[in-house]
């Protein structure tokens, strides 16, 4: 009991309604102790609603929420004092940085000296010790978010509830903050629920992932599993699986989509059964000439568009349309342009197959 990884928070038969409409319905979900569970899903999928229910600020229509096997709503204030939260907005009060970080401890009746000690420790830990005396209104967005996270950690919570705390921070600041947060959370090891729609954040910080769509839980597992092995078409679309081809299994380990034969090591579906064949765009390697192992598809480049550090290319191989993400440097080395022929290499391990229930 009470070891790392066991269920710290248990969600059972949870239904949350708004204006008579069900916005969240989860039969069963365990949040493992001491790990980071990333809650992912598109806008309106119920992620923040779930977090609100866990903070006991939203009242479920039915179901139970348990912390260490005890109902969370038996003593709401006591339960909240075992948790801490940080949101996309830093939500600091109109007082100094030090007072903001000390506030949760003050609300818990912690004596002044201990409050000061903890606040100073966590401000230092988040690299903002020098801002302690600054008024909260005089901080930049990134600084304010660091204060908000320091405040959350200072109360030494068993459970940390985070709703996109890195989303409102500009890119360079975000990078440093993510790095520090990853280090701190792996040391302090609170049970963490992190709502995010950022794949990079989910993969980097998450030990465990739960994916919500339309208010329902669609998939749980390791973040890499959820992103690489989606359970259905909706999940595949959400996790950025750009290549989802309708096809069928033609023989052992072989699939056929739009007239193209593809080998896959994915768990097999029944022979002849309709299947969705999925490949992440970054798993497709483009080459001038065919070389190496795997599925080698002669393709024609149709469109190319830059997307930050990558180039996204749409190609056709016969009747099959492919989307590939290629790092800008690799694209430059490849030296191809629209209309050119290339070989798209897809490893059999990178092809994920879902039984097509539609």
């Amino acid at each position: 009991m009470n070891g790392p990884g066991d269920a710290h928070l248990e969600i059972r038969d949870l239904v949350v309604q708004r204006g008579g409409v069900t916005v969240l319905e989860i039969d069963s979900l365990d949040i493992p102790r001491g790990l980071v569970t990333v809650m992912i899903g598109p806008n309106g999928s119920g992620k923040s609603t779930l977090l609100g229910a866990l903070q006991l600020v939203l009242h479920p229509s039915s179901g139970s929420l348990m912390l260490d096997g005890e109902p969370m709503d038996a003593d709401p204030v006591g339960t909240r004092r075992r948790m801490a939260a940080a949101f996309q907005e830093p939500l600091l009060l109109s007082m100094s940085v030090q007072s903001n970080v000390e506030l949760p401890l003050r609300l818990r009746g912690v004596d002044r000296r201990r409050r000061r000690e903890l606040a100073e420790h966590w401000l230092e830990r988040f690299g903002i010790g020098s801002l302690a005396r600054r008024h909260a209104r005089q901080l930049s967005g990134g600084e304010a978010q660091r204060v908000s996270l320091a405040r959350a950690f200072a109360s030494q919570p068993e459970v940390l509830l985070l709703d996109e705390p890195f989303a409102g921070v500009d890119a360079p600041t975000r990078e440093g903050l993510l790095e520090d947060f990853a280090e701190i959370v792996s040391e302090a090891r609170p049970t963490t629920v992190l709502v995010t729609h950022d794949r990079d954040e989910a993969l980097r910080l998450g030990d465990h992932a739960a994916l919500l769509i339309g208010g329902g839980l669609r998939q749980t597992g390791r973040p890499s599993e959820v992103f690489d092995r989606p359970a259905d078409r909706d999940v595949a679309e959400f996790v950025g699986m750009e290549n989802v081809w309708s096809g069928q299994r033609s023989e052992s380990g072989m699939y056929r989509a739009a007239g193209v034969r593809l080998a896959s090591t994915a768990k097999s579906v029944a022979l002849g059964a309709p299947a969705l064949i999925c490949v992440r765009p970054e798993r497709i390697v483009l080459m001038r000439e065919a070389e190496g192992e795997g599925n080698l598809l002669r393709s024609v480049v149709r469109t190319v568009r830059p997307r930050g550090p990558i180039m996204r290319a749409d190609l056709t191989s016969g009747r099959l349309t492919l989307t590939a993400d290629v790092p800008v440097t690799a694209w430059d080395e490849l030296g191809v342009s629209i209309g050119d022929e290339v070989t798209a290499r897809i490893s059999a391990d990178d092809i994920h197959v879902i039984e097509d229930s539609d």
């Binding site: 801490a84 949101f87 007082m95 100094s96």
Partner: protein, 232 residues
Amino acid sequence: MDLIWDGIREAARLWWAGDGEIIEITLRTLAISSAATAIALLIGIPTGAVLALRRFWGRGLIVAAVNTGMGMPPVVIGLLVALILWRTGPLGDLNLIYTPTAMVVAQLLLSLPLVVGFSLASIQSVNPRLIGQMWAMGANRWQVLWLLVRETRLGLLAAVMAGFGAAISEVGASMQVGGNLAGETRVLTTATVLETGRGNFEVAIALSLVLVVLAFLVNLVLTAVQQRRPVT
């Protein structure tokens, strides 16, 4: 013009001489209006907070009543309190009519809607997500109220100023329920009315100036607190 200058000179003389009656009336005025304002704050701020944060049946009606109360003529309040406290009225047995307590009640009823209205407006302007964060930090109901008061202190100080201003400057209700009895219920406003009626303009001016200076000093202190840059 002479009348005014004579009045100001007489006022200065009365102050300088430390006129006992003026000091007594001033202290009574301060005591009655401060008590009324303090009670209005104790009741008004939590009421404003509840109206700002909760949605319940009849809330709209209460808010409309508060808004009406903010502009209620003092004589109407005076009449109401007089009727209730009159010897044959519902609370006549308490023998409160023509006492400072009756004046506190009347001034309280005048300043309460102002305090509730101002508190409601300032607390309603707080980001609801910040209030959510207060709960998330583990605050109980009273701690949330304390944090809200702290967070909206500028607006709430405006409520204090409006409430105190309404109480100290009011005359009609104080006359009706206090009776302007010398040494008992006479305050600066009622004394000013009396002295004006008697043609004692220099005393009336002296009393008015005390009232103005008093109101100014109180508001000066409150403004200094309101405009101070918070450091903690």
